[in-house]
């Protein structure tokens, strides 16, 4: 008889050969005889081919709301994701991820993940009971049916969902709601709507060149955008352009990491971007540097715009408004107008103002009048949705027969690619997502009774947090679908665990680059997590069990098949593939559409670039891209709450890997601002305004202007920090046209601070 030693056991755990030798005893003893366990079962795994030491690889795509939407490769061993890399086939991702993407393994296997459906006894009490999926869905369905019986519609049921997961099948959440009947939807976006509308007025769509063509630019202005943190894969193209001789100018209220890599940085007075752009435009006009041929052939209304500039704009006025010296404005205006091609990247930060849309229109005009629209290496770059032509199979669902809904005006989000239905009088009731708190509180007839939260963490991301807490209290049922116990889950009645990118099938495209990636299921869902469409199917099954015909969502779905159903010939042709399965060999880049407006055929009513937009005037704004005043300060210092490099909204920052590099939040204060308040570096300070307050550690830096303070939007684990305590829900000017609701003036906030 072999005498097995400790070492042998350890070797056997590592080495399949030894293990097999060890296991010979099983055949002799007879396994069944030895079955006293209540949980474990006889091992029936067949001896398949195992490449010991090797990894299986899977294709994934980062589904976060990010310019870069990276194509990933996941290395799996023993059914466990071990590490990730960027897909080498994508020239954009180029084999590397970012600090967030490299933390995904930690996100997947964090002991902190939400594991089971659970119900809280008393919102915010922390008293949670584990319940089965069946019980969770029964409770939810019963409530939905009760609402329907009470109100004779499903309008008491509201959905708030945005960008937590941009995988296309996740639009099945909207599909689930449509399949229940006519419901209440939070519509709009806190992100980019003012700029979308501005570009639609000017050009007839939001459309920008492939960022990879920035290498051909001879002049690059990075205007209110911080790619060094928020689109780190684009930086290499900016560097390459610079190496080929381009000048890079960065305009931002904050000396960002991107500013530090520019040739020239302008610390602009926040929200005066329009004045600055118009000052440059006036100077270009005065110097005769307008591209007259392009303007004559491709635009309307330039004469009126030129008259406006001559009558109401001067270089000195622009200098005074923006804080940038007139001679600087003049020089960069001349350089920009004479470089060929020249481009401006318009960031989302600069349009989160009450005059944000107007400012984007002024910048668009600057690019157009110099003939840089429609050129490789040129363009007014903002974003695009040219690669999003999926079937939206998961999203498009029909209401049950006889469903009643809302009669009145409704809005549509920018990612809502469904066609407007013909005929039916009933619709969903739409509420402004940027005013979630007050809309939930004020909705009547019927009131909002139940709220479903998915791909979103409203209590960390939505505005006027104090009001939002009140709105949550008013709900009869709050269901939150999430992965971690964030501030919204704290206020839920029922939480449902949702899959990570490694655990579900889906497909992803970006709104900046032109790549298409498949997202394969790389590992089994941990614990009891389900994907959003699986949740929808399970809910539908339960609804129909309790009340036949109450939900049209298919009850038995194969998530892989559902990915296939998102594809069509248009997508295949655009990306030059024969089948979606081709994407298993790597991501693909669009073959067309990568050069915006090259043919001079614009999507505006006139078919031209519209310096004068009557549609814009019809919507209540100026027809010309005129200067619009910013918001009047309501406190001593401007408060900026932009994105951090360590997270995407409220994801990633809570992970302990990330805490190694970003352990706590700070408020960044100019040393002079701190000095007069007797605040030293590292002090605890109380930041306060009319909306609320935040206690936080001070970090002194002259990267921020003397009249502003800055804190990054974030959700930290074990830390009550929330910048939305200080941000009200004042709207940006534009956004209602294409995004369903105006944007929100996130950077038009004010506050003061004292030593805590």
């Amino acid at each position: 008889m072999t005498l097995w030693k400790k070492n042998d056991i350890e070797t056997a755990m590592e080495c399949p050969m030894t293990r097999r030798r060890f296991m010979k005893w099983l055949a002799a003893a007879g396994v069944a005889a030895a079955m006293p366990c209540g949980f474990l079962v006889p091992n029936e795994t067949k001896a398949g081919i195992v490449y010991e030491g090797g990894y299986e690889t899977f294709r994934n795509a980062c589904p976060r709301n990010c310019y870069d939407t990276c194509s990933m490769v996941t290395y799996v061993k023993d059914g466990v994701a071990q590490f990730v890399e960027g897909a080498p086939e994508s020239t954009f991702t180029n084999g590397g991820l970012c600090v967030k993407g490299n933390a995904y393994i930690r996100k997947q296997y964090s002991p902190d993940r939400i594991k089971y459906p659970m119900a809280q006894q008393g919102r915010g009490s922390g008293n949670w009971k584990r319940i089965s999926w069946d019980e969770a869905l029964t409770r939810i369905s019963e409530k939905f049916i009760e609402i329907n019986e009470k109100d004779e519609s499903m309008l008491g049921l509201a959905l708030t969902k945005y960008s937590g997961n941009f995988g296309i099948t996740n639009y099945g959440v909207e599909g689930m709601f449509s399949s229940l009947g006519y419901t209440t939807r939070m519509v709009g976006t806190p992100c980019w709507p003012a700029g979308i509308d501005a570009q639609n007025y000017d050009m007839g769509n939001m459309w920008c060149n492939d960022p990879e063509d920035m290498v051909d630019a001879r002049y690059i202005i990075l205007w209110g955008v911080n790619p060094a943190w928020c689109s780190v894969h684009t930086m290499k193209y900016i560097y390459e352009a610079r190496q080929r001789g381009a000048k890079v100018v960065c305009i931002d209220p904050v000396l960002t990491q991107t500013a530090a890599k520019a040739d020239e940085y302008w610390q602009i007075n926040t929200s005066e971007d329009g004045a600055l752009a118009l000052g440059m435009a006036r100077h270009i006009l005065d110097r005769g540097l307008v591209d007259q041929d392009w303007v004559a052939a491709n635009s309307v209304g330039f004469g009126e715009f030129a008259d406006y500039l001559k009558q109401e704009v001067t270089l000195e006025w622009a200098a005074e408004k923006s804080g940038v010296p007139a001679r600087r404005i003049a020089r960069v205006a001349e350089e920009f107008a004479t470089a060929d091609p020249a481009t401006i990247w318009i960031g989302y930060g600069m349009q989160r103002h009450v005059n944000g849309g107007a400012s984007v229109r002024a910048i668009d005009a600057l690019v157009a009048m110099t003939g840089n629209v429609g050129k490789a290496g040129g363009g007014a770059r903002y974003g695009h949705l040219m690669t999003w032509g999926f079937n939206y199979h998961a999203m498009i669902q029909q209401p049950p027969k006889g469903a009643k809904g809302f009669l009145g005006p409704t809005a549509k989000g920018e990612f809502d690619f469904t066609k407007d239905a013909e005929g039916p009088a009933y619709t969903n009731r739409t509420l402004n997502i940027n005013k979630t708190a007050r809309e939930l509180l004020n909705a009547t007839d019927p009131p909002v009774r139940a709220l479903w939260v998915s791909c979103k963490n409203p209590l960390s991301q939505d505005f006027d947090r104090n009001q939002l807490e009140k709105a949550f209290k008013k709900m009869e049922l709050v269901v939150v679908v999430d992965q971690f116990f964030n501030q919204t889950v704290e206020q839920a009645d029922i939480v449902l665990p949702v899959t990570t990118l490694f655990e579900e099938w889906t497909v992803n495209v970006g709104y900046w680059h032109y790549w298409l990636s498949i997202n394969e299921q790389a590992v089994k869902p941990l614990h009891e997590a389900k994907s959003n469409i699986e949740i929808a199917a399970a809910l539908s099954k339960k609804m129909n069990e309790l009340k036949p015909g109450s939900c049209t969502f298919p009850t038995d779905i194969d998530t892989k098949e559902w990915v296939a159903k998102e594809f069509n010939k248009g997508v295949y042709d655009l990306f030059g593939i024969n089948s979606w399965e081709d994407l298993k060999n790597g991501p693909k880049k669009a073959k067309a559409n990568r050069l915006a407006w090259a043919d001079g055929k614009f999507g505006t009513p006139s078919g031209k670039y519209e310096f004068r937009s009557d549609l814009c005037a019809e919507h209540g704004f100026n027809a010309l891209p005129k200067y619009v005043e910013g918001r009047k300060p309501y406190d001593k210092l401007r408060l900026l709450t932009p994105h951090t490099q360590f997270g995407l909204h409220s994801q990633f920052i809570n992970l302990d890997w990330m805490e190694d590099f970003n352990p706590r939040p700070y408020v960044y204060i100019h040393p002079e601002t701190a000095r007069v308040r007797n605040i030293a570096d590292g002090d605890r300070v109380l930041v306060k305004n009319k909306t609320g307050e935040v206690t936080i550690t001070a970090s002194l830096t002259d990267n921020v202007p003397v009249d502003a303070i800055l804190m990054y939007e974030a959700w930290f684990k074990n830390n009550p920090y929330n910048c939305q305590n200080l941000v009200d829900d004042t709207s940006a000017d534009m956004g209602g046209y294409k995004a369903g609701a105006p944007g929100v003036a996130i950077h038009d906030q004010f506050a003061d601070l004292v030593k805590a």
């Binding site: 890399e85 890599k261 040739d263 940085y265 804080g323 490099q645 990267n703």
Partner: protein, 189 residues
């Protein structure tokens, strides 16, 4: 001269995004608090804008590694083929000599295993013809693998400001220093 691999730290390109440091964790799953590669912000005396220029540093795989010389149990060796300094953790007794003697703070203490550990230059990846994870992951090519013996070092420095000057160890690292943008500030208030 034999091959000596090292890191080229291009602070002119580096945006301090910490991708390299996290990529290392992605590959090796170090304990919380144990970090092999760090992205150090430069002090304001060296670069005037706070937290806007960085050195990404891990083990420098020195020609004459202090860690190797002070280790009482020969847990360190230097690879003949490429000069990579490897720490064999199973031999380590956790005495801390290497941690105290490295001027660059490369070996760090793992409080769970009660042993030292450090950047391996991903030598297993190198042997499989793959770049080290930090280098592969850098989105702006700000850290690169170089062979010190065959390097055109024009414009590069070995002892960048703030980086401990230890010529006797001859660290296998070269730097390019960060640029300074022309800064136009408002003269408000």
């Amino acid at each position: 001269m034999k091959k000596q691999l090292g890191f080229f730290v291009d602070s002119d390109r580096c945006v301090g995004c910490m991708t390299c440091a996290m990529a290392c964790k992605n590959q090796y799953h170090q304990e919380k608090g144990v970090v092999w590669r760090r992205v150090y912000p430069l002090k304001e005396e060296i670069y005037p804008h706070k937290e806007r220029a960085f050195y990404s540093l891990a083990c420098n795989h020195c020609e004459h590694p202090a860690c190797m010389h002070v280790c009482p149990v020969k847990a360190y060796y230097k690879r003949e083929t490429d000069g990579v300094v490897v720490h064999e953790q199973e031999k380590c007794i956790g005495c801390g000599n290497c941690i105290r003697s490295c001027p660059y703070g490369a070996p760090v203490y793992n409080p769970v295993l009660k042993k030292a550990e450090k950047c391996s230059f991903c030598h297993q990846r190198l042997d499989a013809n793959r770049l080290p994870m930090c280098v592969m992951s850098c989105p702006v090519d700000a850290i690169q693998v170089i062979d010190i013996t065959r390097l055109d070092s024009t414009g590069l420095v070995q002892f960048a400001p703030g980086f401990p000057k230890q010529p006797a160890l001859n660290p296998s690292v070269r730097f390019r220093l960060p640029r300074l943008p022309e800064v136009v500030r408002r003269k408000t208030i």
